[in-house]
Every structure is written in C-alpha cells, then in structure tokens.
Symmetry: C2
Subunit: 228 residues, 2 copies
C-alpha cells in the first residue's frame, strides 16, 4: 500500500501590513477623514481597528465615541479615507520580500491567494505595487463577501477559489483580526510584525508563528509547509 500523499499547504495572505507597507498611511487617512467630520479618536485606537470590516469599525467607533454617524456622513468618511489614502500612495512600498515570497510560492506550485478587508478600488493600487500581474493572482476583496474580518468569510472564499481545503490553509496576516478570522475559518494563523502590532498581541489572538515580514517568512518557508 502506498503511503498516504499529504496535500501541500496553501497560503492565504492579508494585503495591507502583510504584503504592502500601507498600514500607517491608512491609519492617518482614517484619522484625517474622521477629523474632518469632527470625530476625534486617538491614532493608536484606529491602528488597532485597521484590517477589520468597515461596518464593525463604525460600530466600535459609535461605542467608543458615542457618535453614530448617519449613512450620508459615514459615506463621506469612507470616501475621504479613500481619497486621502490614494493621495499618499506614492509613499507606499511593497514590504521587503513580498514579491519574492509570492514568486517562490508560484515557482514551487504552492497555491496562494490574497484576501483583504479593503474594497477593490483601494486595494488595486496596493496590489499593483507587488509586481505580480493581477490576472495571475486570486484576490478576494470586501466587495465579494458578506462579512469582512474577523469573520472568516474572506479566507473561506479565497480557499474555495483555490480549491484548497481549509485544513491545508495557512493564513498570514499582520493584525489580530486576521488571526481571529483564521481561527474561525479553522486555518492556521501566522503573524507578521510589519503592520505594527506587537508579537504578544498576535500570539494571544492565535498566531502559531510570528515572523518580522514577508522576507522573514521566505527565509523560513520550509518550516511552515511552503514547498511541494
């Protein structure tokens, strides 16, 4: 009898803070967009909410500030966040190793996809920075699922698009919301420090390993199932 052939591990990546160095620009764009509507929230509190769904972000905002923006005001905040972020897009770089990591996985025929809580119009300029042709990537954005992170929908949809069973999926993200969504999706979570969260926060949210950034993951790829 032949030995059972284990399935290879597949990788589902978050985008902002995980592959692209855009978290701090997003954080200050939210801060400015909220400030223009006279909603004042300390910057670190915005940082700690980045990566979760905009709807949840707004509920938390309402709870923490007592302000519940009506739909028109909320739409203005979302639009201004996008405008301000795009104004600063030329200050955004890919994270060290991001391009090489994706290329290495492709070369080894290890399946991978990107799943982001952002909408496609905000994600597109970041995706273009990665230097991987968009038509070669499997990408799931906020627009395509009912609930964003920390709900598991984005990662479940990405795995389905790859034909990857979730018990063979490793989910790589910089935020607590990625790690919580990984647990709810029954995937394995790997944290990266490149979004500015602390190691302890990521481990407490369920990361089974934490690396500095994509270059550090690439250097340890064999340890985490990233080979055929």
């Amino acid at each position: 009898m032949p030995a059972p052939q284990p399935l290879p591990e597949g990788f589902l990546f978050d985008l902002d803070g995980t592959l692209v160095d855009s978290v701090y620009q997003h954080v200050l764009a939210w801060h400015q967009a909220l400030g223009e509507e006279d909603i004042h929230l300390a910057v670190w509190r915005i940082h700690r909410r980045i990566g979760m769904s905009g709807g949840l972000f707004t509920s938390i905002l309402a709870r923490e500030t007592g302000i519940e923006p009506e739909p028109a005001r909320l739409a203005r905040i979302l639009r201004r966040h996008h405008e301000i972020y795009v104004e600063h897009i030329d200050e955004v770089d890919p994270l060290p190793g991001a391009h090489d990591l994706l290329e290495a996985l492709t070369a080894a025929r290890v399946p991978w996809a990107i799943a982001t809580s952002g909408r496609i119009e905000t994600a597109r300029p970041s995706l273009e920075l990665l230097g991987v042709p968009l038509d070669r990537m499997v990408i799931v954005t906020r627009d395509q699922v009912r609930h964003a992170k920390p709900d598991p929908d984005l990662f479940l949809a990405a795995a389905e698009r790859l034909g990857l069973p979730m018990h063979h999926a490793t989910i790589v993200g910089d935020s607590v919301w990625d790690m919580l969504a990984a647990q709810r999706a029954r995937g394995l979570g790997i944290g990266v420090l490149s979004g500015g969260y602390g190691e302890g926060e990521l481990e407490r949210a369920g990361a089974y390993r934490v690396f500095a950034d994509p270059a550090d993951i690439l250097a340890h790829l064999d340890e985490i199932g990233g080979r055929r």
Copy 2:
C-alpha cells in the same frame, strides 16, 4: 516616635505618544525624510525606534540597511523630519486626559516633569497643545543631556530639576525605550498603549503597570501613588 513620613511619588512623563498623539505623524515624517534620501526602511521598523535618541536611531539604521549617512546627509534627514512633522502639526491632538492628568497632579502638589528625546524646536509645538503654560512645566529635552533614551540621562535630569529622589519617581512612557531608561534610572515604569506599542512589549521592557492613555492613568491615580 512619629511614624516615618513617606515621600510622595513624583511623575516623569515622556511627551510624544504619552501626552501628545504625535507618534504616527513622527513615524511617517521619518519615513518620508529617509525616502527623500533614497533610504527605504519599512514603517513599522521606524515606529519601533521612535522615542530613542537620534544618534542610536542612526546607528541602527546603518546596521539594518547597510547605509551609514555622512554628517551632511544625516543633518538633511533630521532637518526634513522636523519640517515634515511641523507641516502636519495641526493633525496632532493632545491625548485624552493629558491636560486633566497634569492639572490633577499640580492641584495635588505632586511633582511632575516632562523628559523627551526630541529637541526643543520639535517639542515646543507639542507642548503648547497640552494647555499648560510652558513656564509652569519642568521640561528636559534632548539638547540638555549627553545621551537620550534608552540611556537614563533625561529622566535623571528631570528628577534632579524637581528635587525628586529617583526611588520616588514613576516614569510614564509609551515606548520600550522609556521603560528601559526607567529601569536604568532605577525608577518605576508605567506604560501607556497610546503610542501604538503592544502591552506585552511594554511589560517585557519592565513596565509594572500598563494603562491605555493619560485618561486611564488619571482614573487610577490613587493606585500608583499620585496623591499627597
């Protein structure tokens, strides 16, 4: 025999990220100033160095990027960081509770001072946001000591200016460098999350308590010796 009269605790505060919500603007100002000199460092790595002395920051930069800027180039980076930061100063707010905390300490006649790794020209606009007259504050800046954090000089100088023995000093800061400098000065360290570091990072660096921000400290002032 009368009971020994314990000295009251005095408080030495860091400025950026501890009293003023300026860390993320500082981080992106450094990122832009370095980028203009074609030095590319991921934003989170800059964030993790914020609050330490500029000299140490440069040494680490040299080690991590292999770039050792000559003095003229370094001076340009420092100047541009200051210019870019000041351009964004109207996006900087005091942190919640900062003004009230300092007023409460003053009212209770608990000695307090501010000790910052920044230079006076960068610190002044932040200090003005606190709404406490500058002539009523004891302030020690980078210009006034040999070594900045994580060396203990800034906190030692601030305590001396207050006439406060270090074994009655509580040092409040948002960064690992504040907590390390507190240990080297033999003061007690209290961390705040408002600079965007994680709780675990601050505790591992020696914080004996961690609060969210100045408002949270004010709500727990009696627990940490902040009363006459």
